[in-house]
Subunit: 318 residues, 2 copies
């Protein structure tokens, strides 16, 4: 893969970021991705403060390459997480699911590179105005929490690129997320005007991912139409269609209120499914590209394959 503004910003070999996913993105995954030439991210959304500190320290011991921490602003413990990040000398933070203005200046004053995840042009501009160093534009096909506009990656990248250009931010690096699990999709995103990609689902199924073996197996078995964006009345989330998802659909069918849906969702469903491997009762967050994932591989093998496929795709365009 070619060097871009994204690989220059993060000082990585490839313009490729591993998504900082709850219950999957441990120090083991993040350091493996960074050691293989991408940017690994620890997913702090599922971690207590002391757990995050441990993962940062383990990651520092496991790689001398750059890595970062993803902080979804809708979870608790944000202030403690941010303090740990600064104290332990993490150099890169991705924020998501919240207002980019809340933490960007504070982090940048402390010498940290800040990236914010958005799903529409309005928030891309808001993030640019808040002073972020790059933007992740995440499309409808992505796993986990997602935007209400339902704009797909193919549409979102040119729209955000155009909005940034019009707003005077034509040099701001743009990272495409959602629907990327092949080198062809990486080439596609660069052709659309992105400077790099963020890959989640493919790394959720990686050897080094802390996802439960049962969940990884479910990802490999997922086919066409195996996921759906649901619970839009709460926070929209893309889930694998399992018995818990089925229970949500039955709640809809009987006209359940948002309060009833929230009660059905309860607490700890994602941990139960993704980390403890309960495929019936758990919430399984994964992207549409699960249909393209057919083997558990090491992060290094994944990146090597992406690189090879990328060059094949470029060859198709000549």
């Amino acid at each position: 893969m070619k060097a871009t503004a994204v690989s220059a910003l993060f000082q990585t070999q490839f313009p490729l970021v591993q998504g900082g996913m709850i219950w999957c993105s441990s120090w083991r995954l993040a350091s493996a991705v960074s050691n293989a030439g991408g940017l690994g991210l620890i997913g702090s959304g599922s971690m207590y403060p002391e757990v995050l500190r441990e993962h940062i320290q383990q990651c520092q011991a496991a790689t001398d390459k750059p890595f970062g921490v993803n902080v979804p602003l809708l979870y608790p413990n944000i202030e403690e997480h941010m303090n740990s990040i600064v104290e332990l000398g993490v150099k890169i933070v991705f924020t998501s699911a919240g207002n980019p203005a809340t933490w960007t200046s504070w982090l940048k004053e402390r010498g940290i590179t800040v990236v914010h995840v958005v799903s529409n042009s309005k928030f891309a501009l808001k993030a640019a105005q808040a002073g972020v160093d790059a933007i992740v534009a995440e499309g409808f096909e992505a796993g986990g929490h997602n935007g209400r506009e339902e704009t797909t990656t193919l549409c979102l990248i040119p729209q955000i690129r155009e909005a940034l250009n019009a707003g005077g931010y034509s040099d701001l690096p743009l990272i495409a997320a959602g629907g990327v699990a092949s080198g062809g999709a990486i080439a596609a995103c660069l052709a659309l005007g992105a400077d790099g990609v963020q890959i989640g689902s493919l790394f959720a199924a990686a050897e080094e991912s802390s996802a439960h073996e049962n969940f990884k197996k479910a990802i490999l078995e997922a086919g066409d139409g195996a996921t759906q964006l649901t619970l839009k009345e709460l926070t929209p989330v893309r889930l694998l269609k399992n018995p818990f998802w089925q229970a949500v659909q039955e709640a809809y069918a009987r006209g359940a209120s948002p309060e009833e849906l929230a009660e059905l969702l309860g607490r700890g469903r994602a941990k139960k499914g993704m980390f403890e491997g309960d495929l019936n009762e758990g919430e399984l967050e994964i992207g549409q590209v699960a249909a393209q994932i057919s083997a558990v591989k090491s992060a290094r093998a994944i990146i090597e394959q992406l690189n090879q496929e990328y060059h094949q795709a470029i060859g198709r365009l000549k």
Copy 2:
């Protein structure tokens, strides 16, 4: 744009098909696209048999280049349409919204090139087995009727390419549709493994489109999140969010049954909106890329711009 299996199949300069859209794709639009190097399609879905005959004859008078007819199999008059197509010597037919096995052999026995539109791998294989000459894979972001799996173009193209390869159809030309309104998106689709693209929304707003001026103006004004895939209990359809769409959402909020939704939809809504320009009461079918369309241009100017953007996008990959 480079020559591919799609431009070879249709004998066109570019691997680019104009979608055969109801109320937009008249002989005027189809012949203008064909004359500019793409493949123009007449949209028969909104035409009575005698109207389709007239459009075919006018198109033949307006161009000596190849053109085709799109026949959505969910509308009435299919048999009369097919007989007109054969009698008047049309050489290319795109079928959609129905079983590919119903008409493919009949058309091919009469020397006609047949293409079928699908939105999942299962139907892609079914179409291949029925003997089609190419497949259009249409993603979730496309306007009008759409698949229940909600798979986006970025995910759908690699999945269908892979399914066709595994099924022994690796040479079958694949056309990407949904979310394509720029040369960058064309390059993206080719990088993903498509051999060409089908473009709808951008041509719905073309000078030669028979869409009402009010509808074209509404397309230009559409921004982020301006459309939604709705009426999933009937036939899923992507609509511009206008007062009619709002009425559908209010019906959902009060728990309307599919029968009530069908009654609310009624008959003739698409004509009222797209052809007669009633932006309040009409049904306005358009893709997410409406947000990227900012001017009404001739089909020739559109294709020239796509070609220029395509080369810029290829340049970005080098």
